[in-house]
Symmetry: D2
Subunit: 449 residues, 4 copies
């Protein structure tokens, strides 16, 4: 989750005059119009995501990794107020004097009286009602701003703000799932009927390797072009020939791993992973609960409530840690792909898949077709690659560059997006990263060899 | 806080036929009528206490010691449903099938999937709205029950239930204070103007000691008579002659202690207390914050928001731990009273003082009169007595007796009630107890020598 | 163990001129002669205790509670060098410049570079050889000092120093037992054949209670008279009539408690005790290990190595925590005695029993006689009394009084000495105290009702 | 340190018949003779390293990362007894029945009664004297074995055993430094006069990058050839052009970093590194202590005792964590090299440098010549590469392959050896690895850009 925090820092201290070398190819007006449409679409998605959630629902913080949903709503609006409106809309009047520090994700550093976790847990005020007024206030101002032409720097920041809001949309659903899971009544978020379907057999796609290029080729001249800095620069890597599994590992296959006592056999686990198994008491993926009523003995908590595992056997196993993914791979005599292998294989694909826009909010069974499936969407795929900077990755000077690199230790790369990632937010070059024991993300397994 | 939990256990498993030897002296009808009035008064007090608190406010749990206020509301109603209505009102229909386990304070033991803390933090459902309906449902049924005569056992349980609800009323205000303090906007609960007044000089009242009796003389024959079991039996103690300070220690006096670098001088502290000072970083009572704007350099968070300490110098210092009370006593060349000394001195007093009913919700300055003041109300007074069973205290057979004694280790006795204790809940024999490092209670200091 | 540390502080800062009001009734010379005999006896006991232990054995620190034996040897000598020789033997030349701070039990406070635990663990230098030279150096000087008459203040300090060394003798054996237990080869300290004997049935001795006096009646005028300050003042207590078990609880009886699944039944335990059972995984007393070869299924580590529990069934159960003692009492329908009950009952006894001087170093089975047995020796007996100051206990002015009271929180009183307590160190008024979870001491159970 | 443990596992369960495909090119006799010389040299080095250390010195375990030196001595002998003598010397009689499990580094798994750390801390028995007899017993048997020709499998194991002992030699010195540092008398291990010398200016060596090969080209046919499995297979990597600093960072340069308040400025640190700074209270490298007597304000603990930092300003900074190395690089506007960059640059070098055999046991100032210096020896150099398996790295089947890969998470690669690494143990391809916060190793900094 640290990337999101990183982002805020990056922008918080961004010197205004930075990107002076940009050449604008479109007229500002056209860009503004296009941006306004994007803005409305992204902001509308937040409204759609939070539809039906009470003020109480939006206040829960069920794990230290998570944030209350009303905080996500406020924080993403704070971004536009702070980095866009206060600087590019001269007549802008801020909504509330305290919100400037209150919805900065680091505002606890402004005063030492309140530890961060407690703060969010005590967040009954400001009320959700007031936060929704704040959103409306910001939206109205943004529409005024985008009614005319806007400066390139404003465009860059708005694009960044929209990507930022999309990250928080994904997080909001991730956090909500945990909140509803830990609620003793286990409510459902949406009532979606997942159509049962059958995954085809696991087959292998071969790739020749050799000298390849990965990373995002950022067009610095286009303020609408966007990637996170950790996706750059595009660079060469040398790959040995390799094969990728055609689809993700299914719950059925994961059950075999469990049935082989894998959670009791140290031989399959990294040393740190085995420690986690023991200290956390892992016996199955997160959100799996024993249920004698189901033929498999398990039920699975989804955003549509509990489902018998029997219904989901062909869907990808989800909410596993890197350690579990790695142990599964070892157990199966395979390994996880590196991110370079993954990206090289995924490069030809269109960004199509079971993403948030599809509306299922749970990984779906692969089809039976030939070739790679499920590369985009369903679950983030753990790779064998620790999160480091690409060769030539240079932290930008000053605060701008201070942050993305800060988390380049003890985290592993995930690729491909999940069923709660907005489609317009995905890129083949997208590098997600979490600590190896993380399970509350929609994270699954693809094998390589 | 453990006593409250203890209570629930005590009653949960209470065999029905227990108190068979009771002789009723009043007619059942008169008792029922009187009980109904008490019932309405106590339940009404809960409504008054929670007036104006939003569903979000009632969901906060800002420290592991605290519970969300909507949980307090539900749990106290669950008590009447479980122990009274389901057994003594034949036609009673329970409000919701899940509430039986949901609002049992130990219900997590029913299933191991969810750690207790998380549970309360995730408590967005059931909503406050539904919980208020539950309260109304229970109230209507209780009125039906008390319309006629009721059995002695029912009377005993209702009396217990009302005392139980009063404990939760005090806790609710204690928890709310912490919740609003940790909220970054620091809202006020009520807007009460505390009239400034001056405390007289600290003087000493002498007591001869000798063979005394303490403890509550419970009339087993009267089902309306009540004390907690740890207040019994009444028994003899031998006391050396002693003196008590005529009033509690004021903030002004506590500032002198602080100004003498007491938080930096190990010599005044118990070894465990010094460890707490260092590990917790204590520099002042809980809820004191530095404030350059006040002449004293401090402001104090109250249920009416922050106040400059200057306004409160003559009020008793509050929210100090036993360790701080003990260190203050040592610094001043005195000591804390034992509970026997306290009770013997307090015995002649009427139960009058700055209690919840007064409506100030903050300790008030002592007057200037002669003799003991502030024995009842303002702040719970730490004593030098560890919490143990009275001589002859016998755990009742079975589950009934299982619990009050369970907490008789590593806790210290407090006496006298506070500004958030309901007046009808107080007794001179009342034994409150908390761990020595506890500060979120309204707890203060009276010296002895 | 904290008392020992307290002691050093008490003396470290003792102003020299303090006890000026003392009248000497004996000639100084006679006292000096008598003291020299005591000195030689106590120092000789240390040599006897450490006989046969290698430098490596004397370096082990197997739990944070323990100290290496060579440190005990040095520290007790440091006491005489620092508080006696440097002040009362003008020509005294100290043995080594660093020893003054090195063997002060608080010397880590002199410099912050080294955490205390590491320090002792790294204590390869000074070598045992050098420490034995230090002891000889101090002994020679003490003999010179005591060759003539000595001042009262010196007498007081020497008496204190000898009591101090006796405390460390007991600790050394306690620590050594833990060291040899945790050594994978489980060596024996001495090879003592424990004669099997049968304990008689558990019977009860009745006591009338009433107004009694407890505490040590210190003769301030006699510099040879001694008790720790926490044993004073002698004072009145009122006791209800009570009964004490005639002997300690045997291993056989404790096995019944275990066989009744007591370690799995929360109902017998204080809440804190149950937490300890769970977090520490207690299933039996410390030093009991499962052993299929013994008929009971257990063997017990003693200072003579492992013994089958079968041989020890009639001996008192030892190395139990207060929580276990309390749970056993609850399980048996009884309770633990208060320290006032214990002392009142023990007052008529001579200080005779299975103490260190007997040479068994393990609790022995009670005899079959009438009346109280095992009051002195065998095991320290946990009481129901938290450690607090006696009524009228006054910390002496200045650093002198700073310490004994420092530990008067969260500790429980034990009475009666153990099989590793030197006989000349015992008093009926002796108040030992440890935290409720402590098990490495020789601590056992006597019931009351 | 985990690699060492890995090694033992690897060998412990090694099936005997494994390397059947080996063709022997030399006569067995010649190999045996050559091996015997190596054996004597390596075993002699252990004797030299432990010369002058008392039994007490060899018993210290001053951090959980460390082991007592007498344990290193026993464990390395256990290796030869277990994997060589018991299998290849038919008449071999083992020295002591318990040593087989006692000196297995995992023997605690054989019985659950004793946590590992305590065990080593309690290791007074067996005595050093007995362990030295064990070593002599093993040496005599090894000489008998190597008097004739030996099987290839025996050769492989002996080679492995010698590499194993060399690892423990380095560890022994690393552990001893910590032991003597934490000893309050801060003894010196050897009294070596470090000649002051001046490091030349920091310059840069450029490398063209491109497609390179790294990793050890193991000759499977030669049983005397050796590398650890994580150094294989040799494989291609693509490198951008890069530059390496000609020498390691000196203490003088590190002081500038400190003087720029680097330990107080989060901007230079990885997020995890900053947490470590705060939680561990780092203000300087390990073994630096403030010292007003030195012009720099610091002294540095070396294996020759404390030295004023003034004497060492030109020597490489040592005992820094990866986090400190990374922060230094960021502060200086550079970065750390990847392991592929390091190995490619180091490939042409001979294995010459300030290694153990030089006898200084402390990093020495670089010379003033042109080109790369200090690549081999002085300090292990932290790289920017997380420890992962090389492309194509395949865990061998069975227990053989179980272990080296187990630690491939959350550790960083170090290259180049240190002043306590035996010269015959080094390879350019050698991959050392430790967790990012490790400081007790001789680890330093080389910059790249």
């Amino acid at each position: 989750m640290h990337r999101w925090r990183a982002l805020e820092h990056l922008t918080d201290n961004q010197p205004h005059g930075e990107p002076t070398m940009i050449q604008v190819s479109e007229s500002k007006g056209v860009q503004a119009q296009s941006l306004l449409a994007s803005y409305k679409a992204v902001r509308g998605a937040t409204a759609e995501i939070t539809r039906g959630l009470s003020a109480e629902d939006q206040m829960v913080q069920s794990t230290p990794d998570a944030s209350p949903i009303k905080w996500h709503q406020a924080h993403t609006s704070w971004f536009f107020e702070t980095f866009v409106l206060r600087q590019f809309l001269p007549e802008y009047v801020e909504f509330h004097a305290d919100f400037h520090w209150l919805f900065n994700s680091y505002y606890v550093s402004l005063g030492d009286e309140i530890p961060e976790k407690k703060l969010r847990a005590s967040f009954s005020r400001p009320s959700l009602e007031m936060i929704l007024e704040f959103r409306a206030h910001v939206d109205a101002a943004m529409e005024r701003l985008l009614a005319g032409g806007v400066e390139e720097e404003a465009i860059r920041r708005i694009v960044l703000g929209l990507n930022h809001e999309q990250q928080h949309q994904e997080l909001a659903l991730t956090d909500l799932k945990n909140a509803f899971f830990t609620n003793p009544l286990h409510p459902a978020y949406r009532d979606i009927v997942v159509t049962e379907s059958e995954a085809g057999p696991l087959t292998w796609s071969k790739f020749p390797g050799g000298l390849q290029e990965i990373g995002y080729p950022l067009k610095a001249s286009d303020p609408m072009d966007f990637s996170f800095d950790n996706e750059t620069p595009r660079h060469k890597v040398y790959l040995e020939p390799y094969s990728l599994a055609n689809r993700m590992i299914s719950c059925r296959e994961y059950l075999e791993f469990m049935a082989d006592d894998a959670y009791d056999r140290a031989e399959f686990w990294l040393s740190e992973g085995w420690s986690a198994v023991e200290s956390e008491g892992w016996r199955a993926p997160l959100y799996w609960q024993r249920d004698a009523a189901d033929a498999t003995g398990w039920k699975v908590f989804t955003l549509s409530g509990y489902r018998g595992l029997s219904e989901l056997l062909d869907t990808p196993v989800c909410h596993v840690s890197f350690f579990e993914a790695d142990a599964f791979a070892r157990w199966s005599g395979c390994r996880l792909p590196t991110e370079a292998e993954w990206e090289t294989a995924a490069a030809p694909f269109t960004l199509d898949g079971n993403l948030w826009d599809v509306g299922v909010f749970h990984p779906a069974a692969a089809g039976t077709g030939e070739g790679l499936q499920q590369m985009i969407g369903d679950c983030w795929e753990w790779t064998a690659s620790p999160y480091t900077g690409y060769p030539g990755y240079k932290p930008l000077p000053g605060a701008l560059g201070e942050y993305n690199g800060k988390f380049m230790s003890s985290q592993m790369i995930l690729r491909g997006g999940s069923c709660v990632t907005p489609a317009s937010h995905m890129r083949v070059t997208y590098r997600n990263f979490f600590q190896s024991a993380t399970r509350w993300q929609f994270s699954g397994i693809r094998l390589a060899k």
